[in-house]
């Protein structure tokens, strides 16, 4: 694994949305297949579910609600996908990255702060009780996971003595960070699932409120928001690979292959989590996050800091 990350020419930026879309499709296919399996149909029959959904939603009539705040609503709708695209900018695939930002780690954190605004606006814009409840549930949950994830991202930054993604990946040459920062890794993965409103943290899009934030979306808006949800999950998985799972490190194959493989594996784990675990209620999660998780993650950061001071 090269020590330096090479920043590719901007023309390659065209590939980023394609790769992201591919990952999102993989995630959605896996989800569809798992649903098919849970319903007693063969696993493979569900793999085409996202394609069916795309076709269906593309031809579906767009509808809106009375006095919906269309400007904010549509901005929020496209916002999720845009945030996902912004998130992947500093992430290295193998030795290449779109932008070798000096603040790569914090960049991701900032982008997941943008998701707060996007999801709340999506809930607000629809002028519907259910979607508003969904938006507020998201913020309530976000207040719980945000501090832990901020601390969780400090740990690898301290260990690499840098915020640059290339340095973080290079610092894992001997030992992947997931090995000695497991708490940070778990907290980070949980927060990726949470800001995607997915699975156990999916109460903002919960079926008990008619889909919550997604309740009033239809047609192409719905497609973009749901694609954005999978894209954000994929971006989070890719970032976790770079920051905790050693980036492209691995035997035999070139590093970009390993990066992609690890990302797919982690993304699959996120997708599967939805089916194995029941949903968490945000009001109950708040106490757990503030009273149990924050001290644990602070201890983790302390351990990392002590180790680095003594190196």
């Amino acid at each position: 694994m090269a020590d330096s990350i090479e920043q590719v020419a901007p023309a390659w930026a065209v590939f980023a949305p394609v790769v992201l879309a591919a990952f999102a499709l993989v995630g959605a296919s896996l989800n569809g297949a798992l649903i098919a399996q849970a319903n007693g149909r063969p696993f493979a029959s569900g793999l085409s579910a996202p394609i069916d959904e795309i076709v269906r939603l593309m031809r579906q009539r767009r509808r809106t609600t009375v006095s919906a705040d269309s400007l904010l609503w549509r901005i929020a709708g496209t916002g999720l996908l845009l945030v996902a695209l912004l998130m992947i900018i500093p992430i290295p695939i193998g030795g290449w990255t779109l932008a070798d930002l000096s603040i790569g780690v914090v960049w991701f954190n900032a982008m997941d702060g943008l998701v707060w605004g996007v999801i709340w606006l999506a809930g607000w814009g629809a002028n519907s009780a259910y979607s508003l409840i969904g938006g507020y549930r998201f913020i309530a949950q976000a207040l719980s996971y945000e501090l832990p994830v901020m601390f969780a991202l400090i740990a690898p930054a301290v260990a690499a003595r840098s915020l640059r993604m290339g340095d973080v990946v290079a610092a894992q040459q001997d030992l992947w960070f997931v090995v000695w920062m497991p708490v940070a890794f778990l907290v980070f993965c949980a927060s990726v699932v949470a800001f995607s409103s997915w699975g156990p943290f999916g109460s903002a899009a919960g079926r008990d409120i008619a889909g919550g934030v997604f309740a009033e979306l239809s047609g192409v808006d719905r497609l973009i928001v749901r694609a954005g949800r999978y894209a954000v999950l994929a971006a989070g998985a890719a970032f976790a690979v770079a920051v905790f799972l050693g980036g492209g490190a691995g035997p035999l194959f070139p590093d970009w292959v390993w990066t992609l493989v690890k990302t797919v594996v982690l993304l699959s784990l996120f997708i599967i989590a939805r089916h194995r675990l029941p949903a968490i209620r945000p009001e109950r999660f708040a106490e757990v996050a503030w009273i149990i998780v924050i001290p644990l993650i602070l201890l983790q950061v302390l351990v990392v800091a002590i180790v680095m001071v003594n190196r």
Binding site: N39, V66, N127, A129, R207, A210, G211, F214, R276
Partner: protein
């Protein structure tokens, strides 16, 4: 939609339900990540409220839903004949503007009460609804009803904050909701301040307790097991656990189609073990209390005993498993009485709860409204 018996004049086009001039919810969204079975349709919203209840049926998890999701027809009086149980197999309904009501069996429907004159919602008679609390004063010169919807007034909520008051009806047809039950809520944010329930009358009582089953001799045991699986499915879906819910609904579907009781017993045993072992479900469902006792001690409806939802769920699964294994069911002669008592317990139960907990609590009651539907019950809270 077969509108036999309808007065065609009142239903020219689907637009009739759609306030002309408003961009309104005409459409139905059938997002099913499960592309194969679009059997639920949603989103026929016909309210004039600023909030649209129950729209989305994201059937990320299909299976056969026998209840119509999201047909929220509040504001209409005289909704006789919304018989929603026993429906199977509604195809993918993408209701574009000019599609009339196809495929929806609304036999016995009476839309006489619908007054859809233009933008004026004053004409809509909201039975059981209370607009008295709306304060429209202040802010002189401004249009107090943008889009025809009056602004929300304020009111103190459970925690002493002054919050906007939303009047949201939880309609007669929602996913994971007792069919035909309407709960008129006064919401502060997502906390229910007051609730009032009404059970809409049914046009005809379906045979076999709402379970359409050709095999009447297999009878009570199978019916009871199907109903219990349905209740478990509802509760698990509301708890946000799609795969366990799918397992429950698969058992139910197989029983409905005449599958072997022994197989069902095995599946139910597995599901029950899975649910019992899940610590996350236990933690998530803690603290929601529901009314009524378990089905085994069916003689009093409102007891101070364990109203814990998870406990109730496991009992249902255990009872269904027992029925499937033994083929016998312990009938309760007080079932109807107990159910109507549960119905009247709902307003007191949900007051002060937030929407999520309230829906879980109501699902935990195990209401089977088809049998009750003949008697239209109105309870105030």
């Amino acid at each position: 939609m077969d509108m036999s018996g309808e007065d065609a004049g009142k239903h020219e086009h689907h637009d009739g339900m759609d306030m002309t001039g408003h961009e309104h919810h005409a459409g139905m969204d059938m997002s099913g990540e499960d592309a194969g079975k679009h059997e639920h349709h949603d989103g026929m919203d016909m309210t004039g409220h600023e909030h649209h209840a129950g729209m989305d049926m994201s059937g990320e998890d299909a299976g056969k839903h026998e209840h119509h999701d999201g047909m929220d027809m509040t504001g209409h009086e005289g909704h006789d004949g919304m018989d929603m149980s026993g429906h199977e197999g509604h195809k993918d309904m993408d209701m574009s503007e000019h599609d009339a009501h196809k495929d929806m069996d609304m036999s016995g429907h009476d839309h006489a009460g619908m007054d859809m004159s233009g933008h004026n919602h004053a004409g809509m008679d909201m039975s059981g609804h209370n607009h008295a609390g709306m304060d429209m004063s202040g802010h002189g010169g401004m249009d107090m009803s943008p889009g025809g919807i009056p602004l929300a007034s304020g009111g103190d909520d459970r925690d002493g904050l002054e919050m906007d008051v939303l009047n949201v009806p939880f309609g007669p047809a929602l996913p994971f909701w007792p069919a035909g039950l309407v709960m008129w809520c006064v919401l502060h944010g997502d906390v229910i301040a007051k609730a009032q329930v009404q059970l809409l009358g049914a046009g005809a009582v379906p045979p076999g307790d709402g379970v359409a089953s050709e095999n009447s001799t297999a009878g009570e045991a199978r019916t009871r097991a199907i109903l219990l699986c349905d209740d478990a499915f509802t509760l698990l879906s509301l708890a946000g656990w799609p795969s366990a819910a799918s397992a429950a609904v698969r058992v139910r579907n197989e029983l409905l189609q005449g599958g072997a009781l022994a197989d069902a017993a095995l599946d139910l045993a597995r599901l029950r073990r899975r649910v019992t072992r899940s610590w996350l479900l236990r933690w998530s469902l803690t603290g929601i209390r529901t009314a009524g006792s378990s089905t085994d001690h069916a003689h009093e409806a409102t007891g101070a005993d364990a109203g814990d939802i998870r406990h109730r769920l496991i009992e249902w699964l255990a009872e269904a498993e027992g029925i499937c294994q033994s083929g016998l069911v312990s009938t309760s002669t007080h079932e109807d009485h107990r159910q109507s008592l549960l119905l009247s317990a709902i307003p007191g139960l949900v007051e002060g709860m937030d929407v999520a907990s309230a829906r879980l609590a109501i699902a935990g009651l195990g209401l089977h409204t088809a049998a009750l539907a003949e008697v239209e019950v109105v309870a105030h809270g």
